[in-house]
Amino acid sequence: MIADPLSQLVMLGSSGMLLTALIVLWRKGIPAYVTAYRWQSWLLAAITATVGYYGHDPQLYWVAAVLLALKGIAIPALLATMQRRFGAEREATPYVNTETSLAIAGALVLFAYVIARPWMTITTLPTRQGLPLALALLFVSLLIVVSRKKAMTQVIGFLMLENAIALLAAVGTYGVPLLVEFGVFLDALMGFLVMQIFVYHIHETFDTIDVEELTRLRH
């Protein structure tokens, strides 16, 4: 529908990112989630670099490089370490089963398109096709956090939420200043580290990473 290569590429990448989030709803093993997150981060870095290439903003290459190093390599590696440590805990019985989750996710994507419509009409950026997809990714990530029981899944949901925000920033503003981007990185990294500690503590206390057990803390 649009011949502009930037627009096409951004749309392709954003759709891919959304797809990786849907994989999390569909699969049950935590290693698959880590892999999905890794792909998603690479796609995010690629989109950022693409926007930088077409927008002639060399700063964005740096952002893409940091994204790749941090979210594409470092955090997935840490996640894999965590996963190995907890053994093969599977997301066996989520609050919302797979079929329903996927149906809700579909509804959320539709909702995102509805929400993004006024926004789409006021921007003329070539990247605007990515906006509803970024919003949809944001909702789906939240759905992951809400509907799944294992702490690891919830952490991955949060990280995907963070990716969604980064994507939204990249396609919505044509790249944000490096300083702001670094602030967000630092926030995400800190959040992740804190959550990692919490997951370890949950595992130590309850011998499982099922957050259902946390309700026992209330008395």
Binding site: F139, V146, V211, L217
Partner: protein
Amino acid sequence: MAACYGAGALLSLLLARWSGRLALGLSHLAAAAGAAAGLALSLGLLLGEPGRTLIQPLPNIFPFAKLSLSIDGLSAYFLLVVSVVAVAAAIYGPAYLRAHSPDAGSPRQAAQGFALNVFLGCMAFLCCAGDALTFLFCWEGMTLASYVLVVSDDRDGENARAGLLYMVMAHGGTALLLVAFLALTERAGAFDFAALRAAATGLNGPTRTALFFLALGGFATKAGVVPLHVWLPRAHPAAPSHVSALMSGVMLKVAIYGLLRFTFDLLAPVAGPLPFSWGWTVLFVGTTSAVLGVLYALQQHDLKRLLAFHSVENIGIILIGVGLAMILWRQSTGGALATVALTAALLHTVNHAAFKGLLFLGAGSVLSRTHLRNIEELGGLARRMPWTAGLFLLGAIAISALPPLNGFVSEWLTFQALLGGATRFHGPAGLVIVFSAAMLALTGGLAAACFAKAFGVTFLGRPRTSQAEHATEAPPSMIAGMLWLGALCVALGVAPGYAMRLLDAPTAALLHGPGASAVVTARGPLVLSTALTPSGANGTAISMTMVAALLIALSAMALVLRRGVRRAPPRVAPTWTCGMTPTARFDYTATAFAKPLRLVFAALYHPRREVTRETAGTPYVVRRIHYAGEIVDLAETHIYHRVEREISALSQLIRARSTGRIYGYIGFVLAALFVALLLLGVAY
């Protein structure tokens, strides 16, 4: 200066892995070098040509604001105060930390070195900040670094609690400051002080007053003004002693700097006096802090806590001067008197920094040698630690405002300003000022009583515990740090006229009037006289040098006379104690010493005591008497505990409604996001 502090911070980080001892030494060395550079810079500016302002733009790290340093007279003066104590603390620090906690690991030592450099650097740059962003950034850095230092000393729960309270109070204050500054920057559209000044001229009266009270709240929290002082007596004792000296002697003064800068410089109207309510409020809180600070100090038996309460008192005295200057500034009848009041406040700032620094370092020497802070468990240290005792006594005399030391000079000046001010106002206003003067006099007397107790019980008499009995003198580098501040106390006391020259630039910069030496020193640097009228008719004068000389002469004379009178050779005999052997328990204890005052001010203290007797069968044979007593801090019980109860009641309410299920909480977030987006979408 920046290079030195930065290098100190970096070095301690780099060496953390390798050798904590080396990191500690080098970082303190760098801090000392930085402080010396600050000292040189500020002295050069203060003694150079008047009215000069140094402006140094900083690299732009933010796209939206230009950062700069601008050092005028006031900045240079406070930089001087910071640097003076920083030199002493940097000399004193390494030996103290090694002696106090020899088993500290190298990461902790490196962290302490790092935080000290950040702390000093932030305080120095805060005084030189030329824009609101640098100011707030340094303010926050100062808070965080001092928090790290507070919790770094011992790993016990009390330090952590003190640190937490400090953090909460400090951030409450910072929030108020943020609002005050951002309201101005919003209006100005820029962050530098010149733009803020221009923006403030367009403010109407009530807005201006609201901003002033916001800033006053923020700065008063940091300065530890009653009733915002509760963090101070907990956090200051918890920090390592040289850091306590810095926090008490310098950090509180930085808050005073902020208040002066904000009130007299940024927010002041173009013409006419400051609004009526400002000065009187400051005068009132100053008087209250001075009296309550010393009263609570009297009942403390923890040496460092006692000193911390004295900081509340001295900040009160400084604020009395500041408040009076605010009242009198640009009044048709005030004139030079405002300058006298401000001079008194600024002089007391450096004086308090010197003697409180000295006292905290002295307390630190005692602490590092005996590991005791409770003065009831000390005693007899004068013989075992003569240098420390002598220097502590010097500080005690200075803080009690006794001539010929520096505390006397600034309190005398404050009195001059107060009494002069009282004659300017008729009716109730004059009475209030006279009342404030009376309270200041009471404060001085009580401070003297308090230090008679602190010095007497700690250093005189017999040792009450074995730690006190086996104490030895502190190492030379610690003594050197104290000597530097002690020398300063004497110099500022004996020749205060020279200090007036330093005060010329800040007073002239702030009040746009005559400099300090124009109104205070009339006849040479050694004579202080206040010319309260243009003709100097009802001025009073005092020569501190003469006072000192007279005191020395008198004591020499007394010594000579006693020599002459003595006839029989002295006879050494045991003390007559009704046939018992004298023990340490015969000495005055701190509790007993403060008892009369506890009774007199019982309404303020609400003292509680508990005496239990263990008798052996009959009530006539008492085996053991156990005494426990405590006093309450009125502000703490009446304000803070009430707030605490309200908050916990509220959280109980919320707790009853929480499910403990994470998906529920995040579901709320998701739902809220949905609703918000829908509403926005509909609005479009």
